[in-house]
C-alpha cells in the first residue's frame, strides 16, 4: 500500500469508534503490533526528544526501502508510534520525505492528545523524515 492508502485505512478504522475511550483502546491495541526495536538499538542516539515518555526509533535500509522498528515505555505512545510506522515503514526514502501526513488531523488525534504527547508525535515524524532525507542523499551519491 502507498503512504496515502495506509493513512486512509487508519482514518477508516477510526471511524468505527464513536467514543474516545474506544479509540484509546484501539491505539493501545495497535501498540502491541509495533515492530519492536532490537534491544541493542535502544541507545541514547536512537532516543527521540520531546516526549514525556521515551521513544526509541531505528531505521533499516533494505532493497531501496526504509524499515522502522521502535519501542516506548508508555503504551499510548507505543500505539501512536505503531500507527506512524504502519504508514511510513517499507516505503522509499523519497516517498517518505515527500509524504503529506494528514491522518493524525483527520482522526482528530491532535485535539485529543495532550500537547506534550502531540509534540512528541511531531518530533517522531520529524525524525523519520530526517532519516528519509539522509538515505535519499546517500542513495543519490551511490
Amino acid at each position: 500500500m502507498t503512504i496515502k492508502e495506509q493513512q486512509d485505512q487508519i482514518v477508516e478504522d477510526f471511524e468505527l469508534f464513536d467514543d474516545w475511550m474506544d479509540k484509546y483502546e484501539y491505539i493501545i491495541q495497535l501498540g502491541k503490533e509495533l515492530p519492536l526495536i532490537d534491544e541493542k538499538f535502544k541507545t541514547d542516539e536512537n532516543l527521540i526528544k520531546g516526549c514525556q515518555s521515551k521513544v526509541w526509533l531505528h531505521a533499516d535500509f533494505k532493497d531501496g526501502k526504509l524499515h522502522f522498528t521502535a519501542n516506548s515505555d508508555a503504551l499510548i505512545t507505543k500505539g501512536l508510534v505503531s500507527m506512524v510506522i504502519q504508514v511510513l515503514s517499507g516505503q522509499t526514502p523519497k516517498d517518505i520525505a515527500d509524504a503529506n501526513i494528514y491522518f493524525i488531523d483527520e482522526i482528530g488525534l491532535q485535539s485529543h492528545l495532550s500537547p506534550t504527547r502531540s509534540n512528541g508525535l511531531l518530533s517522531m515524524l520529524k525524525q523519520i523524515k530526517l532519516y528519509a532525507v539522509a538515505y535519499q542523499a546517500k542513495s543519490l551519491q551511490q
Binding site: 475511550m21 484509546y24 514525556q52 515518555s53 505512545t77 485529543h112
Partner: protein, 416 residues
C-alpha cells in the same frame, strides 16, 4: 487566625456551598464534571478573588507609589493594605519584612542572589534536601558556582523522609544557609522545619523555608518557626499567578544588597551614585503585579474567613479517605509514605506509565499531574520515570476521590 499558633477547635466547612464560590468548579470537560486534583500545581480561584482584580482594572487602575492623583493614591493604599494582610497572615514582626515578588521561584532566586553576593565565599556551603523542587535547587547551584561554594544535600529514606542524623552530620561550619521545603510537592512529606531551624540557629546558620506547598494547607507562623526567610506563591493559595511573597528577617534583608535595579528601589539617582530605598521597596524594583497583589489580598481574606485550621482539618480527613480508597487498587505503589504528609499523593500502578494513566484520567474529566513534577532527583532516587500525582484542596469531595479510584482502575484495565 492570623498565623496565631493556638489550636482552635476546627469548624466543619460546608464544602458544597464553598464549591459554588469557585466558578471553574462548575464547568465540565469532555462533557464530564471537572474533577480538579492538580491543586499542588495551582489552586482554583474563588469569585471574590476574581472580582477584586476586575474591580481594580475597572475602578482604580493606576501606578502605585508615585502618583499624586486620586487613583494612584487609592491603588497604593489598597496595595499596601495587602502587605499588611500578609504580615498578619504569617505573623511577621515588621511590615517591611514582607517583600512582594512574582512568586516562590523569584523569592528563592532573590535570596540566592543577594544573600550569596553578601555572605557566600569560596569554601562555604549551602544545604538543601533531596526532595526539593528544581526552583529550590538550581538558584543555589548558580549561587554556589558563582561564589565557589559547595551544595550539600540532606538525603531521604524510602518513605520520603529526611534523614535527620545525616543532616546533623552535614551541618558543619562551612554551611551558611539551609534552604528546605516545608511540604514536598511530589511526596507530600511535611518536613520538621522547626527542628532544622533550631539546629541551624545554634550555629548561626540562616534558614529559608520554601512554603509554596504549605501556606495553603497549614498555618505558617514565621515568628514561631523563627525562619529567616519564607517564600510562597499567591496562585497556590487561591490567589492569582504573578505574585508571591518573600518574608525575610529585617536583620538579613538590611544587610543584603538589592536584587534588581530600577524604579521604586531607589532613594536618589545620579550618574555618579545611587542610594537605595529602605525595606521593603529596596527589593521591589519596577512596577509590580498590582491587580495580582489585590487578588492575593482577597485570597488571604478568603482563607482567613474559612480559617486555616479548618482548611487543614478538612484536607486531613480527605487525605486519609483518599489514601484508604486508593489502597483498594491492585498493584498500587505510593511514592512517598512519610508519617507526616499533606495534600499531595504520588503513585504508580503496576507497570502502567504515569503519562498513559494521566491521559486516560483526563478523558474522564479528572485533572491530575503526571511526570517528574520538577523534582527529577526524587525520580532518580526511586528509579522511576515519573508519578501520577493527585493533589487535594479543601474543596475536593469524597465523591471526587471515588471517581478517581474508578477511573484509575479503568485505566489500569485498558493499559494491561
Amino acid at each position: 487566625m492570623s498565623g496565631n499558633s493556638t489550636i482552635s477547635t476546627a469548624r466543619k466547612l460546608d464544602i458544597e456551598r464553598l464549591r459554588s464560590e469557585f466558578p471553574i468548579l462548575q464547568t465540565t470537560v469532555y462533557g464530564k464534571p471537572l474533577v480538579y486534583l492538580d491543586n499542588a500545581a495551582t489552586t482554583q480561584k474563588p469569585a471574590s478573588v476574581i472580582k477584586v482584580m476586575n474591580d481594580y482594572y475597572t475602578e482604580y487602575n493606576s501606578n502605585i507609589h508615585r502618583g499624586v492623583h486620586y487613583l494612584s493614591q487609592k491603588a497604593t493604599a489598597e496595595y499596601e493594605i495587602v502587605r499588611k494582610k500578609v504580615q498578619n497572615f504569617i505573623n511577621a514582626k515588621h511590615l517591611h519584612e514582607v517583600i512582594f515578588t512574582r512568586g516562590t521561584t523569584e523569592s528563592i532566586n532573590l535570596v540566592a542572589s543577594c544573600f550569596g553576593r553578601k555572605f557566600l565565599k569560596e569554601g562555604d556551603s549551602v544545604m538543601i534536601t533531596a526532595m526539593e523542587h528544581h526552583s529550590n535547587i538550581v538558584p543555589w547551584q548558580m549561587a554556589c558556582e558563582e561564589h565557589g561554594a559547595k551544595l550539600k544535600v540532606i538525603p531521604i529514606n524510602d518513605k520520603g523522609e529526611l534523614l535527620m542524623d545525616e543532616f546533623e552530620q552535614l551541618l558543619d561550619e562551612t554551611v551558611k544557609l539551609i534552604s528546605v521545603t516545608y511540604v514536598s510537592n511530589t511526596l507530600g512529606t511535611v518536613n520538621p522545619v522547626k527542628k532544622i531551624i533550631e539546629a541551624a540557629h545554634k550555629q548561626g546558620v540562616a534558614v529559608l523555608v520554601d512554603a509554596a506547598q504549605a501556606i495553603q494547607h497549614i498555618p505558617v507562623d514565621v515568628q514561631e518557626l523563627d525562619a529567616d526567610f519564607v517564600a510562597f506563591s499567591g496562585h497556590k493559595m487561591y490567589g492569582p499567578t504573578g505574585v508571591g511573597i518573600l518574608y525575610g528577617k529585617e536583620e538579613w534583608l538590611n544587610q543584603m544588597p538589592p536584587y534588581q535595579g530600577g524604579g521604586d528601589m531607589i532613594k536618589t539617582v545620579t550618574f555618579e551614585k545611587t542610594t537605595y530605598n529602605d525595606l521593603p521597596l529596596k527589593f521591589e524594583a519596577g512596577t509590580p503585579s498590582i491587580a495580582e497583589g489585590m487578588g492575593l489580598g482577597a485570597a488571604i481574606d478568603y482563607m482567613e474567613h474559612l480559617g486555616v485550621h479548618n482548611i487543614a482539618e478538612a484536607e486531613g480527613q480527605l487525605f486519609s479517605y483518599a489514601i484508604d480508597a486508593l489502597q483498594e487498587i491492585d498493584e498500587i505503589r505510593f511514592i512517598g509514605e512519610a508519617t507526616e504528609r499533606a495534600a499531595s499523593i504520588s503513585f504508580l500502578v503496576g507497570k502502567a506509565h504515569p503519562f498513559d494513566v494521566g491521559e486516560i484520567l483526563d478523558k474522564y474529566g479528572i485533572a491530575v499531574r503526571t511526570g517528574h513534577h520538577c523534582t527529577e532527583p526524587i525520580m532518580n532516587f526511586f528509579g522511576i520515570p515519573g508519578t501520577v500525582r493527585a493533589s487535594l484542596s479543601f474543596y475536593n469531595t469524597t465523591e471526587e476521590i471515588d471517581k478517581l479510584v474508578t477511573a484509575v482502575k479503568k485505566a489500569v484495565t485498558m493499559l494491561s
